[in-house]
Structure formats: C-alpha cells, structure tokens
C-alpha cells in the first residue's frame, strides 16, 4: 500500500512501428498485434488511471498511429481532463487524422527525429522517413498543436547537435528534448554502436547549454545527460512506484518501461486486475517502494533518499539482481561493468535494428 498518487501514465498502445531505431526502449521480445488489448480495455485503463490521480497521458508505442483508435482514446482522455501527448515518429500522421486529433482535444504532439543529416537519419531509423516527418511537423504547426521534437542522442548524431537544434527551431518546435540513449532493451544490445565518447558528450552539453539561453522564452530545450558518464545514478521517475506507470500493448502494467526485463517478479495485467489494485497491492509495484529492499551500499548511504539506489531495471539488466545498487553509482560493487562499457566507446560496431524476430534486418 502507498499513499502516493501517480501523475503520469505512458500508454504503449502497440509495439508495431515502421521505424527500426537501434536504441528503441521497447523490449527485445516485441508484442504482436493479436496480443494487443482492445479499445474498451484502454478506455477503462485511462479512466481508472485518472481516478488514481494520473494527470498526464502519453499515447506512445511503437508507433501509436498504427492503431486506428488512437483519436478515440485521445478524446476519452480529454473528457476526463487529462493532458495528453501523442508520441509519434510522424509516419502516418495524415491531414485527416491530425484534424481528428484536433477535434478530439489532443493538446501536444511529440515527433521524433533521428538526425539533422537526412541520409544519416534514415540510416539510423532503418527506413525512408525524413520527408514524411517534415510533412507531419508542418501539419502539427499549422493545426496549432503544442509541438515537441524529440531526438535520442548517441555516437552517430551527437556531433551534429547544433544542426539538430537549428532544425528543430526551423520546424517551429515549442520544445526540444535532447535525450541521450538509455541502455535498456535494444539500446543495451547496441551499446557499443551507440556509446559516445566523453569528449562528444562534453561538447554537446556545452552547445545545448548555450542554446538554452539563446532560445529562452521561445523554444524550450531539455538536455538529458547519459547516466553512464555520471557519478551517481538517476532517481528514476522519483522512485519506484511513486508517480509513474506504463501499460504495455498486451495489458501488462510496469513501474517503468524498462521493467519488462525484470523476470523475477510476476507482471500485473489490466485484463486481470484494476489499476487501483495494481498500484496499491501488486507485488511488482511494491517490490522496491521505501528502502527495506535495499542492500549495501544503498541501505546505509545518505543518498538513498536522493536517488533511491538508482534504476532497478538497469541493476537487473547488468547484474541479474534488481535489488543491488545501480551499477552507474561509483559506490556500486558492480561499477566495473560501466567502466568496461565506456572503454569500448571508441569501437565501431554495426547497428542491430529493432524488429520482430521473424523480420529481416533492414539493409
């Protein structure tokens, strides 16, 4: 049981996606269309999430526009007072659909870009996509949506950060999210191919800080540092099961989108339980609340109220134990794993593209 109320629900409506980005935050074992929950299930999930206290909804994926009911879900969310964001690649955002979203009361659209260099952007996405993204961005501006451009940063695009900032400004973005790759799922598989050098990160950070000042009062710029280069881990969503929930395409509910890799605790599912029970009672949501689960060095560390031991999903992915300190932390007995990964940052490794096991790798 907890007295905390969640503020944010990430609805991963589908894992289907026309893009194949090698840093995708979806799990390696992508969920197929036939396992996706229904429109009715999603409406109930959104209604129950609002009753729990959720204020923010991310309509995400995969590519949420692959589903035909996304507008209907946006309208439902707006009728409950939620602030919704469509998190899209831009592919599939046609004028008729964009207009339907407008009528549904959707407020905010986030479009991902892969790079400011067109050829490299399409190499990263594994598919021709630049023209469609530009057209989608123009439509978002024309119809007056709040507009965020999101770019996942890594070795292969970090050196063009200034060009990326200029491109987002030219597109008329209200917000630009520059988020360094997080190494879960596909990102972890591709870590050697994606990991930037310290010099790349430092230079990009300086440019982003300067741009924040230049664009102040106009485009808001957020720069998320790569945690591999930090001394201490991030306080993932303010701590486990405190403010955030993710519902996967098949109805699994997780405290973080990386949590599908934690295989030692059963996942609650909206097909079997209410969102209230899942938030309050489920073993998964209660597993890492408070600090009684902590091991040394976290249990006696004064930072345990600052970062809550870091990311449980990362601890599990890198050590096989979700209750140890996040190896990002310099105090972690597993920190050598991070040091070894950084030592490989200069390696040249090809991408393993995100895809279903039965799909061929994009050329």
């Amino acid at each position: 049981m907890t007295s905390e109320r969640p503020t944010t629900l990430l609805a991963e409506l589908t894992h289907r996606c026309p893009l194949h980005c090698p840093y995708c935050s979806n799990p390696l074992d992508l969920i197929r269309a036939e396992k996706e929950i229904s429109t009715g299930d999603w409406k109930r999930v959104i209604t129950e999430a609002r009753a729990l206290g959720v204020l923010q909804l991310g309509l995400s994926g995969g590519e949420p526009l692959v589903r035909k009911d996304t507008e209907e879900l946006a309208a439902h969310a707006r009728s409950l007072g939620l602030y919704s964001t469509l998190v899209t690649s831009g592919l599939g955002l046609t004028r008729p659909r964009a207009e339907k979203f407008r009528e549904a009361g959707l407020e905010h659209i986030q479009i991902s870009l892969q790079d400011a260099d067109d050829d490299n952007a399409e190499r990263i996405a594994g598919v021709r996509s630049v023209k469609q993204k530009r057209a989608a961005a123009a439509l978002v501006r024309e119809l007056g949506f709040a507009f965020t451009v999101n770019v996942v940063l890594h070795k292969a695009n970090l050196d063009r950060i200034q060009e990326i900032i200029d491109l987002a400004a030219e597109m008329g973005a209200d917000r630009l999210e520059l988020a360094n790759t997080q190494y879960y799922g596909w990102g972890l598989v591709n870590r050697d191919a994606l990991m930037p050098t310290r010099e790349q990160v430092d230079r990009a950070f300086e440019i982003a800080e300067r741009a924040k000042q230049t664009h102040r009062g106009g485009m808001q710029i957020l720069f998320v540092l790569p945690d591999y280069y930090e001394k201490y881990p991030k306080a993932c969503y303010g701590g486990w099961g405190k403010v955030y929930l993710v519902v996967a395409p098949d109805g699994k509910v997780l405290p973080c989108h990386g949590a599908t890799n934690i295989t030692t605790i059963p996942y609650p599912n909206v097909r079997e339980h209410s969102m209230e029970w899942i938030w309050q009672e489920s073993p998964l949501f209660n597993a890492f609340r408070g600090d009684s689960w902590m091991k040394s060095p976290c249990s006696t560390c004064e930072r345990k109220c600052v970062d809550f031991g870091g990311c449980r999903c990362q601890a599990f992915a890198l050590t096989g134990d979700a209750a140890v300190a996040d190896p990002i932390c310099i105090l972690s007995p597993h920190h050598h794993i991070i040091a070894a990964a950084l030592a490989d940052a200069n390696a040249t490794t090809p991408f393993t593209y995100r895809k279903l096991a039965s799909e061929p790798q994009p050329a």
Binding site: L52, L55, G81, E107, Q110, D174, Q220
Partner: protein, 95 residues
Amino acid sequence: MLTATSIPSLWRLARVEYDDVRKRPVLLYPEGAVLLNDTGAAILKLVDGQRSVGDIARVLSERYNGAGSADPTEILNDVTAYLSTLADRELIRDQ
C-alpha cells in the same frame, strides 16, 4: 525576474485544470504538473497576457482588502515572486 510592469502570459502549452482526485487546482503542461494552492490559482486566473504584474496585484489587493487586512506592497511582492518562479521554469512568459 519579472517586475510590476511585466505583462505575464501563460505558456501556450500550459493550462490550469481542477483535479477532482486531489481536490486542488493544477497547472498542466507537456510532461509536467504543478499542484496549485488557492492563492496560486487566483493569481494564474488573472494572467491573461493583458494585465501587468502590478494590475494583478491591485485586483487581488482590492479583493482581500474587502475581507480585512492586506498590505498592497506585500501583495505585489508575493505576486511578483510567485510569477517569477514560474517564469524561471518558462511556464510564464513575459511579453
């Protein structure tokens, strides 16, 4: 930092909503939310891109004067400080 002559407007991406779960007004914007107290909500209700910070403080002074004690200078300082905090977070824009 805003001054009495600044003309604040709410970021076009933000809106105030009443949260009937928490029984409080809340300022919503992309991927964020600020829970408001009644004073904060009363200030934001007067932010319309036309009134200056001084105008907003005057409206509130008159309102609270009717109810008893209120020092106009103190109210101006409070309103300026409150809106400046939101301006630091780029939620309030100075026109």
